[in-house]
Symmetry: C2
Amino acid sequence: MTDGTASRSPARRPGGRSALVRGRILAATAQLVARDGIAGFRYEEVAEVAGVHRTSVYRNWPDREELVAEALLQYAEDLASIADTGDLRRDLVDYLTALANGLDTPFGQALGLAIQPTRESSTVRQTVARILEQRGAAIRQRVNVAVDRGDLPPFDSTFLGEMLSGPVHLIVNRGVRPFTRTDAERIVDVVLAGIRATVPSR
Amino acid sequence: MTDGTASRSPARRPGGRSALVRGRILAATAQLVARDGIAGFRYEEVAEVAGVHRTSVYRNWPDREELVAEALLQYAEDLASIADTGDLRRDLVDYLTALANGLDTPFGQALGLAIQPTRESSTVRQTVARILEQRGAAIRQRVNVAVDRGDLPPFDSTFLGEMLSGPVHLIVNRGVRPFTRTDAERIVDVVLAGIRATVPSR
């Protein structure tokens, strides 16, 4: 038995493959990876925290690394794009604020652990690389639009993304103080002003 | 038996408390923490990697957290100060380059794991906080000297440290490309120019 809903389903999806059960399992996985690390968390405890039978976890994700990778991807989608309101400063401040909120969740903390380059399996590392690449692409795209409009001189948009998100990661991971919107504004203001002052306009 | 040198020592320091043995044990600890996490590494393997008897590890560090904390502190001293050559840009570029090199060692990777705020014990967390505080103090001191000399407008030096070292942590931890001196120069140039452009001089 997995759960009541799934076992009564006419579509015969064994192991509770409903979106609800899957979501609960992935959230529990992120929570336990954040606490115990990718090598340390236990399937039994995932099932317990998610409130499902452990066969639901084993059947849907026989591969431990696939489970971690999906849990990370679940969280990544929220930060895969940046709004374009026409106001570059505002869009970047909104993005950094959302990034800080995302990093401060079990998903974000699990991602932080998985970033450590020497430790993880290729499945997890590829997933992390894909998530970070999506975020990098989102920043690059927004910055390139700004450059095309003449809001910003032409600049290596990958590097600009690192300058903006690096301090956010550091402040959130360190956990000494909360990251505020004022922090996001200061970061964006200093970086944009620094680029305008050091890079010649086209 | 612990090791030949220590057991023949007239000072009777049991357990190989010589600087050499201690150094080897701490280096091995950092290496294994970087690979297996703080909860995951094994004393037996520390002894094996260090080339000492395992009683040397147990006797000197009966407390696992103390062992991790000392291993982290071993690495911290190199980055606890910044030179003052009178050239702020150069001193900061040198520091960020040294920081990147330090983060890319087993010690730095172990520190990166220990930074994750939700996971570790109070001994390890206090040590991490102390290391980061020392580094923050080093940057603050050098920046405050620059402000006093009029090289930089008055600015929150803690925040400046986060703006400078955040991208270094991100690039090194991500591990997609090597961190170069050119990266350090671009970071310092953008941040210093951004501060000069946004903060009024005294």
